[in-house]
């Protein structure tokens, strides 16, 4: 079983990112379970969401305490909270950032990958310029970097889940998939 934790801020599409990944994986015929950590939702507040992936039905229904991998939609959360809490050694940390992976030296022992999803979201006018919605772009990047899910399934899942601007969201995911580097420098 793969357990992935998403970190973002309210309004960025963090919960939808975790769902879109699940939708995509399910399209490939695997079992998924995805849920947010429910608190009192506010725009800008830190948000956590979880996705489980397995080849067999998933029965465990608790939160994920020791994720295999992380997706960080908002780089300013790093430092503000301990995003790596419980993260298993060697797990991926995929960060939405215009910096290089090597610049995140504090994540020794994990595999760090970065992708500037914000630029892609802005290019396709997803969300507002003050609060771009980066989830579909980061998902395209995740597909390329980790290979957890194929880009075809991502494309279909994004089309299914995006409430508006379906074409733009699909393009954002595709562009992220093309531009993201599968092999990044490990810290």
């Amino acid at each position: 079983m793969l357990e992935i934790r998403f970190h973002g801020r309210g309004g960025q599409g963090t919960v939808v990112a975790s769902k879109a990944l699940a939708f995509a994986v399910a399209r490939e015929g695997r079992f998924v379970q995805t849920f947010p950590e429910y608190g009192v939702e506010r725009r800008g507040a830190p948000v956590v969401a979880f996705t489980r992936i397995d080849d067999v039905p998933i029965y465990i229904r608790s939160k994920i305490y020791e994720p295999d991998h992380l997706v960080v939609l908002e780089p300013t959360l790093i430092g503000a909270i301990d995003v790596t809490e419980g993260l298993k050694p060697g797990g991926w940390i995929i960060i939405n950032s215009d910096k290089k992976a090597a610049e995140f030296g504090q994540f020794a022992g994990f595999k760090v990958a970065t992708f500037d999803a914000t630029s892609v979201a802005l290019k396709y006018r997803l969300g507002s310029s003050a609060a771009p919605i980066v989830n579909t772009a980061i998902l395209g990047a995740l597909s390329k970097i980790t290979g957890f899910v194929g880009i075809d399934a991502v494309r279909e899942a994004v089309r299914e889940i995006a409430p508006v601007k379906k074409d733009e969201n699909v393009k954002a995911a595709e562009e992220a998939y093309e531009k993201a580097e599968a092999e990044q420098e490990q810290s």
Binding site: A22, F23, A26, F31, F35, Y59, S62, K63
Partner: protein, 384 residues
């Protein structure tokens, strides 16, 4: 059709596939998405139903009762304080023998304000005569709504389909959405033999003295008992048609188990991988997930538990001054049995406190260590 959907939407899909004709509901966290999707389904013409907007849960149930009395297949959903506000009319729905199906999202009762899961809201309604199904997966939620109508309409009793707040209501997972034609074959159109009919005027629910009220209660009890067999029959038939069979309880690795964990809903689901892990270590542990709580499957529980070495019951609810409800009822069922096993009653996960695998394991291990339970109620993880 395979889809990834949330637990709340599984209720909506269940109502759609059951061809609900009237929906009367009032929104409350964490139930809102149920009625949101149903109102969309009605607006888009996918569901040919009357959607009645009401000003409270009491009115939601009152409107549902009117619709059901008129012969319409009726659906509603609520949670916690909303369910409590319905309390008076819940009794009425049973006494009037109205086969309404309602989704209830288990949310802890306030105060203090809370939105997280606990079963005390629906457990508080256990004596209203509503049949209660406690679900443990998104698929089971959808399937249970369809099965609920099939049982309700044969015994003329209302059914509550219960699911955990957030842990099920807001969790998305794989779900097979059955074909409408197959559901129609399983659940044909309902002809209510007692419906309001202007051509056959009659008075309903009028003042009834001690000479006949008693008999009416007796009839409710008899039909409630009859529903035990119906849950099994309709669950088998469901399995034949859709490939997913449902019963009164679900057992797991029970056959040779010395120590048996009894629980319900999401805690019983999380317990499965724990049982797997402990079995691998050579412990003879097994699991019973109670699915139908009302009527309580006492006979079956006696059969499954008689002669076991130890039984532990984990409750995510509390009847203050006594213990957890599943524990109480399991214990009561086993009282007049020769080889009644010692029974441990644990309270866990109130107010949405997470119950991960290690906590489930702790409870099983504590039970295995002790010869006899130290008391009637064991709290797990209280910060002391």
């Amino acid at each position: 059709m395979q889809k990834v959907i949330m637990g709340n939407h599984a209720l909506s899909w269940g109502a759609l596939l059951s061809r609900a004709e009237v929906i009367a509901a009032y929104p409350i966290t964490p139930q809102t998405e149920v009625v949101e999707l149903l109102s969309n389904m009605c607006a888009d013409g996918d569901l040919d139903a009357q959607f009645i907007k009401v000003e409270s849960e009491h009115s939601a149930m009152a409107a549902s009762m009117g619709a059901s009395a008129a012969g319409a297949r009726t659906f509603t959903a609520t949670s916690a304080q909303g369910l409590a506000l319905m309390h008076e009319v819940l009794h009425w729905a049973t006494g009037a023998r109205l086969p309404i199906v309602m989704g209830n999202i288990n949310r802890a009762m306030a105060p203090p304000w809370t939105i997280w899961t606990e079963q005390t809201d629906s457990i508080s309604e256990r004596d209203t005569g509503w049949l209660q199904i406690y679900t443990s997966s998104i698929q089971e939620i959808l399937d249970s709504v369809i099965q609920a109508y099939k049982v309700a309409e044969q015994v003329y009793l209302p059914v509550m389909v219960v699911l955990d707040s957030f842990v099920l209501s807001h969790t998305n997972e794989n779900c097979d959405i059955p074909d409408q034609s197959k559901v129609d074959a399983y659940l044909p159109k309902f002809e209510n033999a007692y419906k309001l009919d202007v051509n056959k005027p009659a008075a309903y629910g009028g003042l009834t003295g001690p000479d006949w009220y008693y008999e009416l209660r007796y009839k409710i009890q008899k039909d409630t008992e009859r529903s035990l067999d119906l849950f099994v029959e309709t669950g088998k038939e469901f399995g034949e048609m859709f490939g997913r069979e449902y019963g009164l309880v679900e057992t797991y690795k029970l056959d040779d188990a010395d120590t048996v964990l009894v629980s319900s809903a999401s805690i019983a689901s999380t317990a499965r991988p724990v049982i797997d892990a402990m079995r691998e270590e050579g412990h003879k542990v097994g699991l019973i997930r109670v699915r139908v709580f009302r009527p309580f499957p006492s006979d079956l529980m006696r059969k499954l538990l008689e002669g076991r070495k130890k039984v532990l019951v984990v409750d995510r609810n509390i009847s203050f001054g006594m213990s957890g409800a599943f524990y109480e009822e399991t214990k009561a069922a086993l009282y007049n049995v020769k080889n009644s096993p010692p029974m441990w009653g644990y309270i866990a996960g109130l107010g949405g406190r997470d119950v991960p695998t290690n906590v489930v394991r702790d409870m099983i291990e504590q039970t295995m260590k002790e010869d006899h339970p130290s008391g009637d109620i064991i709290w797990i993880g209280v910060k002391k």
